[in-house]
Amino acid sequence: MRSLFLEKRLTPSDSALALTLTTALSVVAALCIGGLLMMPFGANPFLAYYQLFEAGFATWRGFGFTLVKAAPLILIGLATICAWRTGFAYLGFEGCLLIGAAAATWTAMQALPGGFLEGVPFLAFLPVVLLTSMCAGALWSGIVGVLKSRFGGNEVITSLMMNYVAIFVVQYLVSGPLRAPGDLPQSPRLPQETWLPYLFEGSRAHLGIVVALVASFLVWVLLLRSRIGYELIVTGLNPKAARYGGINVGARQLLAAFLAGGLAAVAGTVDILGVHHRLVDGLAEGTGFIGIVVALLGKLNPLGCVIAALLYAGLTVGADAMQRQAGLPASVIFIVQSLIILFVLASDLLRYYRVGSRTGVAVNMEAES
């Protein structure tokens, strides 16, 4: 007689099958809970999910919004990958995004009449603004990087605190130096020739998604196909071994901090020049944290991060449409999004078990002992 059995492993199974299965299970479980949460509002979950995916992915206009939302998420995700794979547990992406947005606003304001960038063609302006904001973001994250690599400070807490300082810096800038005349604390509207151009007719998708995809490719090359990337990853896996292997661990951590800050700052630039077209208070709205989630969902891999960001952005766009059309609260989808990750994390426990089948041997052994 054959019987199924469950036994505990010493280490979690990391076969592709086990990983795919647990991830799929997590997604299905989260979607089921989301479906249950839709019930009290009298909605048919299947129809709601269908409408959601249609709005986020299947209409040209909706997919444009998805690309707009995905671009900053991809960039924050890439920043997370660079930092976390080097063992630099940075959480200050929200702050870097804000600093990058402020730097981009300042640069774009120089293209206003009388500024030193007035009349510069967009193709020349783009590298200038990207470079300025990346430097600003890298300097910002570099503060935490220096504290970590020079003094061994705890980057989790310091980077969280730097987010608040960044919020206050932006508040100060929009109420003082960058403020436009008028009642509201905000910068002047940026000149139209500095806006990221829209990619297609009838869609809001702008050049930002191209910037994000190019960045993904560059990060992939740097991290997984170059010597420096190898050193970064070894530093993250085991700093002591890296030091014995002749890698300057402090310098690599600092480099990871610069990369993270620069990439996160581009996310702010893309949002300012592609969507808001001016600097306002309360700009980031948690993008800096959701980008971390996206990177984790993509298993800290650049390609995985792009896919996860598109999914996450599409779900968010679909959730907004669902709220407008079916009157269902968009929060259901936010719950589903975070549950997916929590379930993926928790399913690690499942990978400690092995399911198998055997003939009556087990019973005999028990009988003998």
Binding site: T158, F168, V293, S331, L345
Partner: protein, 312 residues
């Protein structure tokens, strides 16, 4: 009216609102102190505060009693943090990751529950709030009285909790075991201390306290629920814990300083002084960064903070 009178009016207005703003930070920080002393960095207190806020708001709205609201918040805080503790201690997932995602989840749950709970109510309704109670005699002292002794019962309870927390941490067997679990779990386990239990207790205490802090925001400060009601105060409580070097009394002082800076920038905006108010309000954060930077030598954090533990 002399300048002295103006000064005392300003002091009373400033410092009494400082105390009011500091209390929820202190409450959350007291709980977090226990979690971190047991070795768990519970970043999920931000989300737990929000869950406490929505629970207390709805329960108070339905029953009319802020005490039931407070109780509901504490229960929700305990319940949600059982899940967090399981993720931290049994699943051994990265504590920072779990905390951050939990905060996003809590925002979704709070907003969903608000929609569901308010579906047949039109317009925002104010929940019953705790009223200030003047302490007899003490509240009559000039300047000091109105600053410290004319608050709600929740504030006095919070201050009493500081003493209780300090006693539990340093004078009780439980506190010794908790601290051992956070400093050196291997040695503690060898000495017969149940690390898993200690860490569960630490996280649950932080959950209950954070939820109560969320209830404080609703039942003392605002009377309404908004998704932005917590707005990072849970993260600030993390800073208060560090600033207070993982000690309840020092955390009380730290919370007061954060509250005072917050209240001062509010008053400075009225006075139109040349100094940017943002500079002032960012000072406590910068001080926390310097304190955690390692530049001043040893940071006092528990040795095994953020390290998952597995029995060998």
């Amino acid at each position: 009216m002399g300048e002295g009178f103006v000064l005392s009016v300003f002091l009373v207005a400033w410092l009494s609102s400082a105390v009011r703003l500091a209390a929820p930070l202190l409450l959350a920080a007291l709980g977090e102190t226990f979690a971190e002393r047991s070795g768990v960095l519970n970043i999920g207190i931000e989300g737990t505060m929000l869950l406490g806020a929505i629970a207390s708001y709805l329960a108070t709205l339905w029953t009319g009693s802020p005490w039931i609201g407070l109780l509901a918040a504490v229960l929700v805080g305990l319940f949600s943090n059982v899940f967090l503790a399981w993720m931290y201690v049994h699943v051994r997932a990265n504590q920072v990751v779990v905390g951050i995602i939990f905060n996003i989840l809590a925002l979704g749950i709070a907003s969903y529950t608000y929609r569901l709970g308010m579906s047949d109510v039109t317009g925002p309704q104010k929940a019953e709030m705790f009223e200030p109670m003047a302490v007899p005699l003490l509240s009559g002292i000039p300047v000091v009285g109105p600053i410290f002794f004319n608050h709600t019962i929740l504030l006095y309870l919070t201050v009493a909790l500081v003493a209780v927390a300090s006693f539990a941490l340093y004078r009780m067997r439980f506190g010794l075991q908790l601290r051992a679990a956070g400093e050196n779990p291997r040695a503690a386990s060898a000495a017969g201390i149940d690390i898993v239990r200690m860490r569960y207790v630490g996280v649950l205490l932080s959950g209950a306290a954070a939820a109560a802090a969320g209830a404080y925001l609703v039942l003392v400060q605002v009377g309404l629920f908004r998704e932005t009601i917590v707005a990072g105060q849970g993260f600030i409580a993390l800073a208060v814990v560090i600033f207070g070097r993982w000690d309840p009394w020092k955390a009380a002082l730290a919370a007061f300083i954060f509250g005072a800076a917050d209240a001062l920038q509010l008053s400075l905006q009225l006075f139109q002084i040349g100094l940017p108010p943002q500079l002032l309000i960012s000072i406590p954060y910068i001080v926390t960064i310097v304190a955690m930077s390692g530049m001043l030598g040893k940071t006092y954090q528990p040795e095994a903070l953020m390290a998952a533990w597995r029995r060998e």
